[in-house]
Symmetry: C2
Amino acid sequence: MSSTSPETPTRILQATLALLEQPDAKLPTMSDIARASGVSRQAVYLHYPSRTDVLVAATRYQDQSNDVNAALAPSRSARSGTERLDAFVTAWGNYIPKIYGVARAILAVVDTDAEAAAAWNTRMADMREGCAAAVQALVDDGTLPVQTDPEQATDLLWTLLSVRTWENLTQTCGWDQACYLDTVRGLALAALAQDTGALTDVLAHSKDRA
Amino acid sequence: MSSTSPETPTRILQATLALLEQPDAKLPTMSDIARASGVSRQAVYLHYPSRTDVLVAATRYQDQSNDVNAALAPSRSARSGTERLDAFVTAWGNYIPKIYGVARAILAVVDTDAEAAAAWNTRMADMREGCAAAVQALVDDGTLPVQTDPEQATDLLWTLLSVRTWENLTQTCGWDQACYLDTVRGLALAALAQDTGALTDVLAHSKDRA
DNA sequence: GGCGTTGCTTGACACTGTGTCAATTGACAG
DNA sequence: CTGTCAATTGACACAGTGTCAAGCAACGCC
């Protein structure tokens, strides 16, 4: 079947993503994945040695399809530090919903699977670089308070932008995506850029809540 | 064995807690739990119908032993709203490390087990009440900005104080507990009490980091 | 002493899911 | 026609959950 439109490995990843993106997705078993891919269970093992490998490959495939770097490009070209911070929060904050289905699956196995944990950590380390760059931009134009440790500021921003925080606010609390963005942006600006004005109106968007 | 010092059900919970509190604890199997309790695997089933039930019972037992209500009492007697917020953040923030081992186990099965999810949600709903009370105290003495929706403020505080946030900062980023507390307190005061001064020095504690 | 009750043990079992293996099929290329 | 590659089928070992039934040992009680 060398001429079937999407090659089998790709079909498997697409089917896995489709499964994971269903709203009430459970962790798919290898049988689920095989069935959804229209392929035998063994065929999946032929291309991916374990379920974790399928999940990890699916996230990579997704990042590639979504071109996460392109999404984050605007933040790199921002002039001032606060602009860059703002752009990064917006870009990443808007990227999370796209990956949430898969992220949830990976996060669910992270506790029991070292390989999954490694893959997720790598991904989050990449994101952390974006945080670090934004913080550095603040340092460069003197917006970050001098007594603030840049690494610690990065940790904080990274935590604020974590998938878990997004999940808590939008999924558990039912916040609107716009409201989430405003709030996180406000907190980030207040904490890292001393821009307290940003916070003042942050929580006045109750009308935006779901 | 009606006269064995701790009754079997209690012994099982204690053994489970001991397992979960080990620093690199994996999710214990029923066999692990039985072995640690010095009891047969079936004996565990005799008292708890499923592993989830053991975990849930263990958390309840732990809350009871730690007397979480007593720990949270100071925050209830605080005079001003900001004092109350401060006391609540401190009390809960210091309670998290005590329950983290068990919380991690529950959180690991929450994605796959509805019963565990329900138990955890109940517990977090209790904690949310504390957040709501702190926010209400701010409303009462006019500290919360008038345009801020109290429920939304509660959501934010609740997220800030989530176990995941604590985990990210202290476990993944290696922050000192004191540093965590200062930061979360600062963010909470800045976001909910417009106390921007609290934030200014928050991130200046790099010497406290692990 | 004999009695049943209670709490636990032992060993077997069904079931689900993972991951492995070997034999087979079918298509395509040279 | 033959080899190769991708995939299929069906079997298996293994771990873990949860269930079941029989047995055992100590206790209280008459």
